[in-house]
Amino acid sequence: MPGSDAHAAAVKPPMQALLAERGILLAYINVMLRDLHASEDILQEALMFAMDQEFADADHARRWIRVTARNLALAEWRRRGRGAAISVEVLDQLEDAWREEGDGREHGERIAALRACCEALPASAKRLIDLRFEGNLDGLGISARIGRPVNTVYVGLSRIYRRLAQCIQHRLGEG
């Protein structure tokens, strides 16, 4: 298989830096697409392209993948017929916030913290999270399942998200 040796080569440190920021990259894409599984596809595509790049250092790799992921995500958004999404100008304004969010812990540490924080949630909140992410239901689906108005579902989710975000910050000693 021509070229296979190059592909089998060790993953370089800049790539490891990208993999360590997997959650942020996924979120970065999802702000444009608002579909986590589609965002995952885009991220995989971008990482695949990244494997063939030569990066000077981790910062170079981070800058490169953000531009690539953004271009791929916007192309996918257009392919899907656009839809209400925040403008490119606001996306540009968010760049500083993304960089600041990236100056923290590795993805695995955040996952471990999230897991612990989820275990501490009350039963009703756990159920909402399970329906959303294990059941893969949207707000309407959850509303039908629990027999509550869809607005109540989003209010509930926003409170849980806020609580979890604070819990993770506390566990990781941030903020």
């Binding site: 592909h7 080569a9 596809d41 606001v90 968010l94 975000a165």
Partner: protein, 348 residues
Amino acid sequence: MDSADDELMVRYLEGAATPGEVTALEARLAGDHQARREFVRLAHLQALFIDLPRAPAAALQRRSWRWPLVLLGSAAALVLIGMLWHRQPAGPAGPAITAVSGTVHCLRAGIEVDVRAGDALHAGDRLSVDAASQLSFSWRDRVAIRLAEQSEATVGGPSQATITLAQGDIHALTSPIPGLAFTIATPEGLATDIGTEFTVHRDALGTRVRVDRGQVRFSNASGQLSIAAGASARIAPGGAPQADPAGTSSSAGGPAATVPASDDGDGPHLTASGVVTQVDAKRRSFTLIDAATGASSEYRAYFAGGHPQAMLARIATLSVGDSLTVTYLEREGRRALAITPMARSAGP
């Protein structure tokens, strides 16, 4: 930040915001760096859920993505790949040689071995038949195969009943085996028998199937044909199955694109066993034809953090014709697919 801001941000991230709400969110974000930080933090939190370990059933549901994925990067994946490498046993009901005429070469795990009537063939054996020679073998006395002169083929796994034809002619006489579909694979497509007698020919112009009795399903990613007795069809390189003008084939839908998954609790779940029909080095992907179902699925390297070198290196060593079992595993919340080369364990 107040709760109304939180709700607005979450409605947006959940894809539920109206155009008016998106405008309101833009206005909120445009003028306030702290609001932007909070928005990014919530977005990050939401994205973390995709990697949160979950129950096996939920993890399997997620596999309705575009491709069945080779999950990388967990220590469990790397360990299990190593553990499973030599564990695939040779089945007792594998193919056996019934006759050898002239000169036939058999390459087993890179070493040429003698072939005689009565010998067992192993998954991954590469067969090459010289001019004025032929090789006959059978599967459970239900499938009789004749590999014609100047042909090259690779044997599938003992329980897979698959042959991959690189070039030349294979004649197959079969009767149905419960739970097992006999398949001849070529780079252009699959010919799957439904109790029949048929011949597959492959050369530089593609693959041609002629059916003498019964019925054959002829398929690739571009489509599927059902070839009736007396008819023939062909697939040119890169093309879709096409009935020959004089044929009587009927069109059908495309082949299944997903691998069926069992979900019977913890432990390994057999996902697919079959022959590699395509390797894409650039995309680090391979296509495997599940011999049990005839479904062709693409497996891609999946970057999930950690140290994906081992799986990437493993994919890089694959070749068309390799026989593999891809096993889906769920252990302690970690997800992985292990690739097991069947040929390595099937020693004489």
